[in-house]
């Protein structure tokens, strides 16, 4: 029986080493790179970053199809795609927020500064959930986006928090905002 189990483990180990095993979950220490890779590699072949095809700008996409027989209705153009680095940072924070929620039975709550403090070690096991490369804090302890504006955390439920970056115009709730949850 034991030899049989060891054999299975050996096969699994070799398969993982050869890269045929599914990618491991994104770790709390390097979430940004992993999230970026997964986002950029959607639809591409292989995992070599040099082969990643950048996401095409939305404006260059094919026109919206018009159902046969339906009259054409112009659609408000979507804004330029947000800075990929900002989106990556936002998703890294969202991922770690979810990790926190899974561990403690619910996402951290409160203001930006309170949530940041919880993610940064003020929790029952003093665990740090913020990715260092995306942790820019204001003097008030608020987590800042890539343009230096505090993120807005909207708590919908115990396991759903919408994180909003004000985007390049530094004003919340405008068309260039980017969000993740």
């Amino acid at each position: 029986m034991k030899r049989w189990i060891i054999g299975i483990l050996a096969v699994v180990g070799i398969a993982a080493w050869l890269g045929t095993w599914p990618a491991p979950p994104i770790s709390a220490s390097r979430p940004a790179a992993s999230a970026a890779e997964s986002e950029r590699s959607a639809g591409s072949v292989g995992s070599d970053p040099s082969q990643v095809t950048p996401t095409a700008p939305v404006a260059a996409a094919a026109p919206y199809p018009t159902p046969e027989g339906a009259s054409y209705r112009p659609i408000t153009p979507r804004p330029d795609p947000p800075d990929p680095q900002a989106k990556v940072a936002l998703e890294a924070i969202a991922l770690n927020l979810r990790n926190y929620g899974h561990r403690f039975g619910g996402n951290p709550v409160g203001s930006n500064a309170e949530i940041t403090a919880s993610l940064n070690g003020q929790n029952p096991v003093k665990a740090k959930y913020l990715p260092q490369e995306h942790t820019h804090l204001s003097p008030k302890g608020e987590l800042l986006d890539e343009w230096g504006t505090p993120y807005f955390f909207h708590q919908q439920s115990a396991h759903e928090t919408v994180i909003r970056s004000a985007g390049p115009d530094r004003k919340l709730n405008t068309v260039d905002d980017i969000t993740a949850k």
Partner: protein, 491 residues
């Protein structure tokens, strides 16, 4: 080879344990209900409670505003662009006369309602409306220092989260996973005693499924603003051929318990739906469909909440033995859109707190007009002393502006309306308007001084829940100094 390993055994044991745990909780709940029913006296007369839930977290800071000069200055300095001009506020007075003295509470504060709430101001002057300050979901009484300690014993879980706070308001057990609502628990207790010959559920919702009316025995019945939702199509209502056939099929005996339960619920829904729509026909206004002759002396506004409360009024009108035969009823209504992080007072890009088109202005106007018309309808039906409406909400909002609106707060102010209310008065204390002051968690979120348990228990006592079983309905109530806040007249 099929081997039952230690791991399998452990996993199965855990699953079995969880299942048994859930079953034992349900059995315990049913035992509690049965023992509570045995201890509960039979209620007399007719009474109804109507919950008006302000979804999204109503900004109570702009709903009821202190008008004494010192406190108003504190309010205005923190609210900034959200400040309601003092000249726009509707002063709460001791009577409806504009020359009567302004109402003053024991702290020396005077108050004004938001300018959209003229109806509510009138009801306050008529002693039919009470204001309860700083109510919220607290596990036990707490101070700012205890809040800041971060100990779970002092903070309800997932504070500031919409769905969690809605649930906690409606269960009145903030520190336990949601199972039943306090309206549902009251219905479980009172329905068998008060409504033995009824033809309608004691719990009726005009706003879809809700936690407030979830019980173990009584199921909430959902009604639209035009009546019960029934089967559509030709010959599918009343006693027509198709519906007779369908009900005949549903009545066929079967050994499958799940099929039996489904058939029973479906058959009951068809029967109750038809009955309800038949019985409320006489209460329809001339403009309603089908046309009726009834006229409300104060017309209900044609708004979402106005139409919900109009249907509640029609159902109450049909409460008698020739229709639904109800002695106790619980209704749930709601109005969404209160999550005013943005555009709270902004109209066409500029801050205009007194512009009637403003988001929060519109919401408060809808609430005031609908609740005023409902109170007048109850007076018309002669049941003003028997029906009490009350507001609830996820939470209030931060006193400081976020420049566009306000964010999630905690303790909130609420109103209670009806002839049985000790109206024309306020209950509890206005928080001290100081950021990082004794009533603030930080950021202008008020630490509640009155628990949702106390607020609800005061209503439940008036509704007929015996003091001997009050703790079964509100298990955390003993943690607080009083179970009766005094805003209801003795039953």
């Amino acid at each position: 080879m099929n081997v039952f390993t230690r791991r399998d055994f452990t996993a199965n044991s855990l699953r079995l344990g969880a299942g048994l745990g859930a079953a034992s909780l349900a059995i315990r709940d049913l035992r509690l209900i049965n023992s509570a029913i045995a201890a509960q006296g039979t209620p007399t007369g007719y009474k109804a409670l109507v919950c008006v839930f302000l979804n999204g977290g109503n900004d109570a800071n702009n709903w009821i505003v202190p008008t004494d000069s010192t406190t108003y200055a504190q309010y205005a300095s923190i609210r900034d662009n959200l400040t309601m001009p003092s000249s726009s506020l509707l002063t709460l007075r001791t009577t409806t006369s504009g020359s009567s003295p302004a109402y003053q509470d024991t702290d020396g504060h005077t108050y004004g309602f938001h300018p959209a709430c003229s109806g509510l101001r009138t009801l306050f002057g008529e002693d039919k409306l009470g204001v309860v300050f700083n109510v919220g979901t607290i596990v036990r009484p707490l101070t700012r220092a205890q809040y800041n300690s971060g100990l779970a014993a002092y903070r309800p879980p997932q504070l500031f989260s919409h769905s969690d706070q809605v649930t906690q308001w409606q269960t009145c057990i903030p520190d336990a996973p949601p199972a039943t609502g306090w309206g549902g628990r009251m219905a479980d207790l009172l329905d068998p005693l008060a409504n033995p010959g009824s033809s309608l559920s004691m719990s009726v919702s005009l706003a879809g499924a809700n936690t407030f009316e979830v019980g173990n025995l009584v199921s909430q019945y959902q009604v639209s603003t035009t009546g019960a939702v029934v089967l559509g199509g030709d010959l599918m209502t009343g006693s027509s051929a198709r519906v007779r056939t369908l009900r005949g099929l549903l009545a066929l005996p079967t050994a499958n318990l799940q099929r039996n339960a489904y058939a029973s619920v479906s058959d009951s829904a068809i029967a109750v739906g038809d009955l309800l729509n038949t019985k409320i026909q006489a209460t329809a206004m001339a403009a309603d469909t089908p046309p009726g002759t009834w006229v409300w002396t104060t017309p209900f506004p044609n708004t979402g909440l106005g139409n919900q409360l109009k249907m509640v009024a029609r159902l109450i009108q049909a409460r008698g033995p020739t229709a639904f035969n109800m002695n106790r009823q619980v209704f749930f209504t709601s109005l969404g859109g209160h999550d005013t992080h943005t555009s709270q007072v902004s109209v066409n890009g500029t801050d205009q707190p007194t512009n009637t088109a403003g988001a929060h202005y519109s919401l408060l106007a809808e609430t005031s007009a609908a609740m005023f018309a409902f109170q007048r309808a109850m007076e018309q039906l002669g049941v003003s002393n028997n029906v009490t409406a009350f507001t609830a909400s996820d939470f209030s909002r931060t006193l400081p502006t976020n420049s566009q609106g306000s964010d999630h707060g905690w303790g909130s102010h609420h109103i209670v309306v009806g002839g049985a209310v000790n109206g024309g008065s306020t209950y509890g204390n206005l928080p001290i308007f100081a950021l990082n002051g004794p009533d603030d968690t930080g950021l202008g979120r008020w630490i509640p001084k009155i628990s949702v348990d106390q607020h609800a228990a005061t209503l439940a006592k008036w509704f007929g829940v015996d003091s001997s079983v009050m703790n079964d309905i509100f298990p955390n109530l003993t943690r607080f100094s009083t179970s009766d806040l005094g805003f209801m007249k003795p039953a």
